[in-house]
C-alpha cells in the first residue's frame, strides 16, 4: 500500500504547500488527484516519489517510511511519468524503455531474459511494438508519451504515478491513455494521476480534491465533482452536464447561471 499519513510540506519561506493530507492507494486503485493550480497536487506527487522530504507526517510504502527504502528497491515498486519531461531524442524507443530496468540492473549489469520480457510486455501493453526501433525524435507527441509510459512500466512497478498524463494529447490519444490506465489498474497496479481536467478524473476509481494544500473531499469521482467542496473550490466556474453515459464537467462561460 502507498500511504500518506498526515502529510505536510512547507517551502523555504514558510509557505505551506501541503498540510495534514492522509490518503491510501491500494494495488488496483486508480486515484485521480484534483485541485486548482497551486493547490499542492504536484507537491503531493513529489512527496510520494521521494523527491521532497515531508516536513510533517510521512509517506509509507508497503508499511515502511519511503525514506528508509533503498533507492533501487523503491524503483522496483514506484514508477513515475512526468509531464513534458526531457527525453533522449536519438535513442530508439526500445533503448529508452530498457532504461526502466535500471532499478533491477544497476549501472553495469547487462539485460537478461527477465529484463527483455519486461520490456516486451511494456511495449506491448502501451501498443508501442511497432515503434520500438524508431528514435524518439521521430515520434509524434502521443506516440512519445506512450513510449515514456512504457519506460515507467518496464520497472514493473506496483504503483504508477503520473503528472497530467493527458496534457498535450488530442482527444483520441487522451481516450487511449485513459483506457490504458484503466487496464493497468485492472491488472493490479495502483495508479495515481494528477489531473487538470475533472472529466479525466471520472475515469478513475477514486478521486481526491485538494484546496490550498488540504484534502477537502475524497470519494467516487462522480460524487467528488458533484460535491459541495468541488462547487466551492471552482465557485461559479464550472457547470455539470448529465451526458448520455454519465457526467461531464465544463468550464462556465458567458453570463448564464
Amino acid at each position: 500500500m502507498l500511504e500518506a499519513r498526515r502529510l505536510g510540506y512547507s517551502y523555504a519561506r514558510g509557505r505551506r504547500a501541503l498540510e495534514g493530507v492522509s490518503l491510501e492507494v491500494r494495488p488496483g486503485d486508480w486515484l485521480a488527484v484534483l485541485g486548482p493550480n497551486g493547490s499542492g497536487k504536484t507537491t503531493l506527487l513529489n512527496l510520494f516519489l521521494g523527491l521532497l522530504r515531508p516536513s510533517a507526517g510521512a509517506v509509507l510504502l508497503d508499511g515502511r517510511p519511503l525514506s528508509s527504502w533503498r533507492a533501487a528497491a523503491r524503483g522496483r515498486r514506484l514508477a513515475y511519468l512526468p509531464q513534458n519531461g526531457p527525453f533522449p531524442p536519438g535513442l530508439s524507443a526500445r533503448e529508452v524503455v530498457r532504461l526502466g530496468r535500471l532499478p533491477y540492473l544497476g549501472l553495469w549489469k547487462s539485460e537478461g531474459p527477465d529484463d527483455e520480457r519486461a520490456v516486451d510486455w511494456a511495449l506491448e501493453v502501451t501498443e508501442c511494438r511497432d515503434l520500438s526501433e524508431r528514435h524518439l525524435a521521430e515520434l509524434s507527441g502521443g506516440e512519445r508519451q506512450r513510449v515514456l509510459l512504457a519506460r515507467a512500466l518496464a520497472q514493473r512497478p506496483a504503483y504508477l504515478l503520473l503528472d497530467e498524463p493527458t496534457n498535450h494529447l488530442d482527444l483520441h490519444h487522451q481516450a487511449e491513455l485513459l483506457r490504458l490506465l484503466g487496464r493497468l489498474a485492472a491488472e493490479g497496479i495502483g495508479v495515481v494521476s494528477v489531473v487538470h481536467d475533472p472529466n479525466h478524473a471520472l475515469a478513475a476509481s477514486r478521486a481526491v480534491l485538494l484546496e490550498n494544500g488540504r484534502l477537502v473531499d475524497e470519494g467516487a469521482p462522480g460524487a467528488v465533482v458533484t460535491g459541495a467542496a468541488f462547487r466551492r473550490v471552482y465557485a461559479g466556474d464550472v457547470r455539470l452536464l448529465a451526458a448520455e453515459s454519465g457526467l461531464a464537467v465544463l468550464p462556465r462561460w458567458g453570463e448564464e447561471r
Binding site: P88, L91, L99, L102, L107
Partner: protein
C-alpha cells in the same frame, strides 16, 4: 553501419598518427615511419626523429584530444546542454589559472626551497589546475543560477573563463622569467611534449577518464530528467559529483600539460553522435577516439600552416570551433 563507424575511427586514429610522424621539418616517407615504429617496438635502435620528437608529440595530442572530447560529452550529457564544453564552461581557463598560480608560487620561493617544494609535491601544478577547474565550473553554475538555463550557463562559463585568462596573463607578466613556460597555458601548445609528459598525462587520464566510460547508462538515464533518474534509483548527487569531478580532472590534467585547447569538447561529441548515435555507452568511447583524431590532425595543421614557424594548436581548434559553435547555436534556435 555502427561497426563500420568504429572501424573508421580506429583507422583514422592510426592514419593520423602516422601522418603526424611523417610531416615535419624533415619529411619522412610512410614506409620509413612504419619501419622506424616497428624497429623501436621490437627493441632495435630507435629513430630519434620518430621516437624522441614526433611520436611523443602525436601521442600527447591523442591523449589530450581524448580527454577533452570525453569531458565535453560528459558535460553535455550531465547538464543536458548541447553547448557545454570544458572550454566554454570555464573549466579549461580555471585549470590554466591554477597551473600558472602553482608555477608562480613555486617561482617566488627562493631556489633551494622551491626545488624542495617541487620534489615534495611534484603534483602541485596539476593539483592547482584541478582545483582551479572545479572552482571555475562551480562558479559558472552558481552565476548561471543553476544548470537549467542552458544559454546562461554558457554565458557565465565564458565570462568566468575570460576573467581567469586575464588573471593568468597578469600572473604571467608579474613573473617574466617564466613567461615562456607559462605562455603556452593560455593558447595550448604541444611543442614541448616528451615521453615524461605522455606518461604523466596517461596516468592522470587512467584515473579520471577511464571510470567515466562506465557511466554510459547513467548518462542515458539522466537524459530523462532528474526526477525520473531519481525514481530509477540513481543516487543523483553522488553520480553528478563523480561525473563532474572525472570530466574536470581530465580537463585539468590535459590543460596542466599543454595549456588551453578550446572547442574540442564541443566539436567532437556532436560529430560522433552522427557516427555512433546518442547512446552514451557508445558516445563516450567514440568521443575519446574522435577527440584523439581531431587533435592529432589539428596539431599537424598547426605545424604546417605557417612553416617554418608553428601555430599553437589552440589557434587551430578555435578557428574550427568558433564557426561550429555558431552552427549549433543556429540549429538550436531553429
Amino acid at each position: 553501419m555502427r561497426a563500420l563507424g568504429w572501424l573508421a575511427l580506429l583507422t583514422a586514429l592510426a592514419v593520423s598518427v602516422v601522418l603526424a610522424v611523417m610531416v615535419g621539418s624533415v619529411s619522412l616517407g610512410w614506409a620509413r615511419v612504419l619501419t622506424a615504429l616497428w624497429d623501436g617496438l621490437r627493441g632495435a635502435a630507435q629513430d630519434p626523429i620518430v621516437w624522441q620528437i614526433r611520436l611523443p608529440r602525436a601521442l600527447m595530442a591523442a591523449l589530450v584530444g581524448a580527454a577533452l572530447g570525453t569531458a565535453g560529452a560528459v558535460y553535455q550529457g550531465l547538464f543536458r546542454n548541447p553547448l557545454a564544453d570544458p572550454y566554454l564552461m570555464g573549466a579549461a581557463s580555471g585549470a590554466a589559472f591554477g597551473a600558472t598560480l602553482a608555477l608562480s608560487l613555486s617561482g617566488s620561493l627562493s631556489g633551494a626551497y622551491a626545488s624542495a617544494v617541487a620534489l615534495r609535491w611534484p603534483a602541485s601544478v596539476p593539483l592547482f589546475a584541478f582545483a582551479g577547474a572545479v572552482a571555475a565550473v562551480a562558479l559558472a553554475v552558481f552565476l548561471a543560477g543553476g544548470v537549467a538555463r542552458r544559454y546562461n550557463l554558457i554565458l557565465a562559463g565564458v565570462v568566468v573563463g575570460s576573467v581567469l585568462i586575464g588573471l593568468t596573463t597578469y600572473l604571467m607578466m608579474l613573473d617574466a622569467d617564466r613567461v615562456r613556460a607559462v605562455f603556452s597555458y593560455t593558447l595550448g601548445n604541444l611543442a614541448f611534449s616528451g615521453w615524461g609528459d605522455v606518461s604523466r598525462l596517461a596516468l592522470y587520464l587512467l584515473a579520471a577518464l577511464l571510470p567515466l566510460f562506465f557511466f554510459g547508462r547513467a548518462l542515458n538515464a539522466l537524459q530523462l530528467g532528474d526526477a525520473v533518474a531519481h525514481t530509477l534509483g540513481l543516487p543523483l548527487a553522488a553520480l553528478k559529483a563523480l561525473l563532474i569531478l572525472g570530466a574536470t580532472l581530465a580537463t585539468a590534467a590535459a590543460v596542466a600539460q599543454v595549456g588551453i585547447i578550446g572547442f574540442v569538447g564541443l566539436i567532437v561529441p556532436h560529430t560522433m553522435r552522427r557516427l555512433v548515435g546518442e547512446d552514451y555507452r557508445a558516445l563516450l568511447p567514440a568521443s575519446a577516439l574522435g577527440g584523439a583524431v581531431l587533435l592529432v590532425l589539428a596539431d599537424l595543421l598547426a605545424r604546417v600552416l605557417v612553416r617554418p614557424a608553428e601555430l599553437p594548436v589552440g589557434v587551430v581548434t578555435t578557428m574550427l570551433g568558433g564557426p561550429f559553435f555558431l552552427y549549433l547555436l543556429r540549429r538550436q534556435r531553429a
